[in-house]
Amino acid sequence: MRTGADEATRASSAPTPAVASGGVLEMRGVTKVHGDVVALGGVDLTVHAGELVAVVGPSGSGKSTMLNLMGTLDRPSTGSVRVAGHEVGSSDDDALSRLRSEHIGFVFQHFHLASGATATENVADGLLYSGVRRPERLERARRALTRVGLGHRLDHRPHELSGGERQRVAIARAVVGEPTLLLADEPTGALDSRSGADVVELLRELNASGTTVVVITHDLDLADRLPRRVRLRDGVIVDDSSGGIG
């Protein structure tokens, strides 16, 4: 039951719609300093809904810091990061957790799946913190797995799957909550080139059906296959180009 008081609380704390004036992700003058080390030295980046972006750079270029800031896992030292319209710097830990559960999906290089759980259970965990009841979580997990081409692997455990299949499970977990923004951190880094190509193809398909995707990678070949490339070096954006294959 929703009361007037509930509405009032919601008005002050609830996320506003993602498709606000700017983009899904807006970074303005963002710096991140770890002690004496400047990881990011002033970054401006806007990612609009429906984009497929590669953030590419060598190790030490600030990629991981970018990922953490985009994913609201960390706050900027200065500047503004807005995800789905929410200012990250001024949000408390609970609000950021909620933001992640509702708007952000993560894909990690090393999958990070629970080894004792089936593919379906792993994917269903993606909805665990969104207040969705278990039967619906499992049903949506099965749908997400089918969507990434693993409809025949629903009850397999990670050790019964190939690397490429595991990464598909992880992608299904990231998209099962229909996130506004999908962040993939070196998604092909632990895969052979064939499986890697399949995973990139899957990300392109997800993007084609409306998901905004940011891929963080050091792999220039991978980046070249994506429509927009943001090149990082020493903590600043040195190139932001569209075109090529995209």
Partner: protein, 399 residues
Amino acid sequence: MRARREARRRGVSSTDLVRLGVFGLRTRPTRVLLSALGIAIGIAAMIAVVGISSSSQAALARVLDDLGTNLLQVVPGEDAAGETTTLPADGVALLERRDDVEQAAGVGRVTGRNVYRTDLVPEAASGGITLDAVQGDLLEVLQGETVSGGWFAADDLPQVVLGSTAAATLGIGAVDADTRVWIGGRWVAVAGVLAPLPLAPELDSSALVPASGADAAFGFAGRPTRLYARADPTRVVEARDLLAATLDPVDPRRVQVSRPSDALAAQQATESSFTALLLGVGGVALLVGGIGVANTMVITVLERRGEVGVRRALGARRRDIRRQFLVESLLLSLAGGAVGVALGCSVTAVFAATQGWPVVIPSWAAAGGLLATVVIGGVSGIHPAGRAARMAPTEALAT
């Protein structure tokens, strides 16, 4: 679509927390088994101690129920000069004349006469067996039973009934027509052997002979040294106060009246201090078990930094992480506790069965045991769970 999502309840439901906890434990079975074992042993020890002591109390209550609590015992006291007094020779008759006494009997210690299995044993070795002359229907008054043979036959042949300890000392198990013992220089036929007398354990090491004839045969002086009376069950307390005056109207303080069932209950109370000691030992086992659980949880949290990071990335709040590990700790402890309760009950049941006791396990003991495990699990889990919750997501994912 988004409005619907926001309308949903936030937070992880309790069933999901339990499911997460069970899953977390299931993936590390050996470690879980070992740390739960510590709790199980502690709880089992405490339940068994309480259960065995309760069962033994219940057994005593049953014995007292069978034997009655209306038996009174009278022994000589001391006079003003500190000399031991004597009881009147017609003590049994005096007691039976009272209307609050249903039945009375007595025994008179015969000194200087030892009891032997054969006439070949040297006089000096008495074997600790005393000789008592019986006045009145002692077996009936004490609610005693013979395990072999019978009570005195109604003839004048010299005969003896042996207490349980006395029979064991003499090596006499079963009695037949030829069983006899050597008392004070003559052979005496053994009529029977008594079962232990819980209300008159002093007679277990006695050889009992009828008072009639004992004066001639063994030099019994005729004065009882101990009287037993069955009082009217509704007037036991007042009878207890009045018996002394009946036996010694001049100075009732010169006889001592007691209620043997009270002594039995008091003995039980003494044993309860031993029970307290054992409970303490169980408590220490439980404490060690709790430390084991805490240790396991600390290690688990260290090992699962990656999992914590992923869950934070999936949207878990700090409190979701804290609850997950707290519930896991509770479940670990509770599993140990449940096994411990089952184990403690089994031990109690087996022990009580071998003693012929009823099995009594107070429900507060079982409930208290489980409650203790909940407390242990909670206390052990607070620190590791808090540590997991405080981990920065970036730091947790970096490993």
